[in-house]
Amino acid sequence: MKTIKKLYGWIVELESGIALVLLALAIVLNAYEIFQRNFLGKSFIWLQEYSTLMLLWFALLGMCKIVNEHQDIYVDLFVKKFPKGLQKVIDVIVYALVTAFMVVAIIYTWKLFLSQEGNYTIVAAYPLQLRSLALLIGFVTMGLKNCASFVEGVIGLFRKNEEGGAA
């Protein structure tokens, strides 16, 4: 179990590393574009489409790290006021719902991916599959984390009940 967790953490680090490289690349390329447009009178016509593609990958791979570190945007205003036990039950339900969403999202992203076979963007002419691939990788990574949190949550609930029963 520990090895799997370690491996997962390693994959997420790799993904966030790639996300950082893509962000840096997008910035450098766009900076060069501003320079060459103004001083050399040239433009990369493919840059806009590739920049948005890079930032799509950046967002999805970045989300993997954010989800893994529980840094997502959420409102804990109300839930903090619930009793601890209820909080844990709610957490498990939320993890289950998110996991369910991720399963649906993965299935349909795969479907989208297959349907985009042979389709290209208009300007840069890169395969549209490059877009859905980013989603696929992001959803699988986030889905795994949520699934694990769900399982841990369920185990946590049972353990607590056992301890409660023993006392």
Partner: protein, 331 residues
Amino acid sequence: GGSGSGSASSSGGASASSAGSQTSGDTIVLSCATKVTEDSFEGKTYQHFADLVKEYTNGSVEVQIYPSEQLGDSTTTVNNMQLGTIDMYIEGSTFYSGYGVDVLFTSSPFLMTEWEDYLELVTGEFGDLQMQQMEKAGFKMLCSDRSWQRGPYYVTCSTKPINSLDDLKATKLRSADSAAFMNAMSFLGVSTTVVNYSECYMALQQGTVEAVNCPVSNVESMAFYEVGPYVSYMNCYPQELWPVMNLDKFNSLTQEQQDALVKAANDAAAYSNEELYTFTDEMIARLEGEGAQFNMDFDCGVIQDALHDYYAEEAAKGNIPELVAQFLGLL
């Protein structure tokens, strides 16, 4: 009801396409995405098309228009139409280039400058080829006459007058984000800058570019005349509107409904073409009243001639579809 729903196609999107459009009672409602606003000239002709569909099908098919890119940008919309989550899209043809359809030649500037030539090309053998390519990708082009003209022509809005090719060469021109445009312009010796179309107004105002190519209707709708009051006739591309539908969805309709849709598209095209020039002339008169200066005598043939060698080379490299190159005498 759809009698042809027995086509359990392999794409998977087909079965879902019936879910993508609602059926209320016996009426089939088709969702139709467009880029323009409802009250623009084009928006009104799309509504006319929808009205004709209702009339010709005796109310059994209704077209629900979603204007202004409400259902997403072109790439997303065309992708969704292929999947069947949107039934119809009315726009230019370039968006199908990513689906194996030979349309990119229409974005080669000054390759063709006369609508009549274009019409002759696409109603012949080459047009049949395009329609085969569309159907292979899962799309049905509704306008069988291929006559839905858009624009009706291109102009250049600039901060200084453009009366000759030399004037154009001395101007910083905004480029569409297309390699074809940039390469052709650099062959002519015109310097271009890529600017997002939505930012062209500001670019003209701030001097990032001195001239912007646009369909004549946008001179008023994008308010380009305010910042680039010199408007020259510059018909670099003939423009055709493509009312396109998801093929599986089209095939799921009865033969009568299919015929009605095609007839409605052709009739809407004819109606639009009739109104287009009156509308444009009225607009020009209006803008001249506000101080814009129109030069409608600019000779695009000069530019076309200057580009002949360039396009001959492109044709030799295979960058222009063979049938088009033969039609234009480039091969």
